[in-house]
Subunit: 298 residues, 2 copies
Amino acid sequence: MEHLLNDMALFVEVVKAMSFRRAANATGVPNSTLSRRISALEKGIGLRLLHRTTRKIELTEAGQLYYERCKRIVEEARLAHEQLGEMLAQPSGVLRASLPVDFAVTFLAPLMPEFSSRYPGITFDFDLTPRRVDMVSEPFDVAIRMGESQDSNLIARQLARLPTYLYASPRYLELSGEPSEPTDLEQHECLNILKSGEWTLHKETQMTKVSVGSKFVINSVAMIRRLATLDMGIILMPKEIVADDLDNRRLRRVLPEWQGSPASVYAITETRLLPAKTRCFIEFLSEHLDKLCISTQY
Amino acid sequence: MEHLLNDMALFVEVVKAMSFRRAANATGVPNSTLSRRISALEKGIGLRLLHRTTRKIELTEAGQLYYERCKRIVEEARLAHEQLGEMLAQPSGVLRASLPVDFAVTFLAPLMPEFSSRYPGITFDFDLTPRRVDMVSEPFDVAIRMGESQDSNLIARQLARLPTYLYASPRYLELSGEPSEPTDLEQHECLNILKSGEWTLHKETQMTKVSVGSKFVINSVAMIRRLATLDMGIILMPKEIVADDLDNRRLRRVLPEWQGSPASVYAITETRLLPAKTRCFIEFLSEHLDKLCISTQY
DNA sequence: TTTAATTATGCCATTTATGGATTAATTATT
DNA sequence: AATAATTAATCCATAAATGGCATAATTAAA
C-alpha cells in the first residue's frame, strides 16, 4: 500500500514501452512483477490506468492524465539523482577540514597551490585547533590526525607513514655529548609528544627499543621543535618538520644510522559515503604524501 | 537497490520532522524501517544525506540539495494522486456506453434529464449498436445488457429485474382466440426474442412452463413489438416497453393473472476500478430502475 | 480455418523487507 | 558529577515481495 512512488516509475516505463513485455526487457524487472505492481498501483488509486488486451495496451482517460504527471515526476527524480551524482563526480563546494597545525604548515601548505588549481571549484575551511575528533557533531568533512587514532565507528584511512629521525641542536650536543648508541639516549633529555616513555629505533634490519624520559609533557610539535632549537634536548620526528632548522644549522641529525618508527598520518571521516571534494582531497594527499615517503625512505 | 523513489518520500518526512522518531510517529512507519531505508538511500546515491547524532540530525550539503529537489517531487506526486482522486470523486468526462436500443429508448431516455442535470460535468457517447460485448478492445466505460450475460472476467452488476407480462393486439385475440390458461399459449404464435422455446409463467405462488413456438427468429425488441401491434402474435415483455401501445389500445394484456420471469438488466464493466462518471451512472440507473421494479411488481 | 506467436496473469518456492524490542550512546537534568 | 531520559541503530522472527514457469487468451500469419 506504500509502494506508490516506485510503482509510478514502473508505470511510466510500461507506458513508454506501451507493452509490459518490452518494459520488462528494457528495465530488467520481470513482467510478472510489472503486472502485479501496476495492478497494485491501480488498486491503490482506485482507478484503472491501462486498458489491457492481450496484444496491446492503451491508456484510460485517468491513465493518460496520470502518465503526464508521472512522466515529469520521474524525470525530475532522475535529474535529482544525477545532480547528486555530479556532486559525487565533480569536486566543488566548501571543504571543511580539521588538521594539526604542524601537518598543515609543513605538509599541506606546500601542496595547496597545486590542489587548488587542479580543483578550482573547491573552497576551504581549515580548523587548526588541536585535537577535535568530534567529527559527528562538528560538520567537518575530514580530519587529519597523526599517530594512532583508532576511534570506533569512524573511518580512518592511512595517508602516509613518515620516517622519523633524531635531531638536536649543535649546542645541546656540545653540552650533553653526542650519543653513539641508541641506549645512550636514556641518559639524554628526549623531548616527546605527550609523555610516552619508549622510542623504537631501526637500523637496516636491526631494531631496538629505548625508554626515554623528559621534564616536559607537551602536546605541540611546534613547541617541542622550538625547545630543541633552544638546546633543550633530542627530538624524534619527520625530517620535513625540521627542514628549516636543518638548513639553518639550528638542528642536526643524531645517530644518523638510526631512524624511528614511521609516524602514521590518517584521514578520518565519519562515513565512506564521501562527496567528490572530500574524496579528491584525501586521494590527493595520499598520493603526494606517499611520494614523500618513498623519496625520503632511503 | 530499486526503492529509491519511495525512500525519497521517507527522506522528506524525516527531514521535515528533523528526527527519525518524530517522522516515525507522524508517518506510522517504524523508526527501524526509517533508519534502514535512509541508509539504503544513502548507499544507493553514494553520499551521506544526514549527519546523525543521537540527539539530533542535520542535513549534509548533499542532503540539503537533495531535500529541496525531493520535497517538490514528493509534493507533485501527492498532487498527482489527489488529482486522480478528484477524478474518482467528481464525475466528469465523456461517458461511453453501449446499450440496447430498446433499453435506451424506453428506460434510459426518461432518466437522462435528471441524470444530466445532477451531473453537469458528464457528456455522453452512446452506442446503440446491438450486441457488442467487446468491452476490452472497445473503449466503453459500461455496457448495458438484458438477459443473462455471464461473460467471464467481466464485471456484471444487476441493475433491475423487470417483471414481464403477456401482450397481444385486440385483433389478434379476436382472430386466434384469447388464451385462458398458460398451456393455451402452445397453440398461439408467441413472438420471442431469439428462438428460445420456453416461457416460464408465474401466478402468485404457482409456476408453470410452456413451450412456445413462432415463425420468427428476431433479435430486436422493437421489431417484435411492432409485429405484435400488427396482430402477428403474443409477446412477453416489461410493461414499460409497450406502455404507448397499451395507451393507444394497440395492445392489451393477455392472461392478466400471470407474469413471466423477470428480465434482468445488467451493467457490465471491464473492471471494478471505475471512474466517478461510470460509478455514478450505474448507481443512478440501479436506483431508478429498482424503484421501477418495486412500483410495478404488485 | 488453422497454426503460431505474443502477451498478461496465476502460482509457489525463494529471497527480501519489515517491525517490535533491545542496545549503545549522548544530552539534559538533578 | 552522576543519573535519567531520549534517540538512532541493530537484531531476529515474521511477513511480504519477487521471479521463473505454466496458463489462458487473443491476434497475426499461413
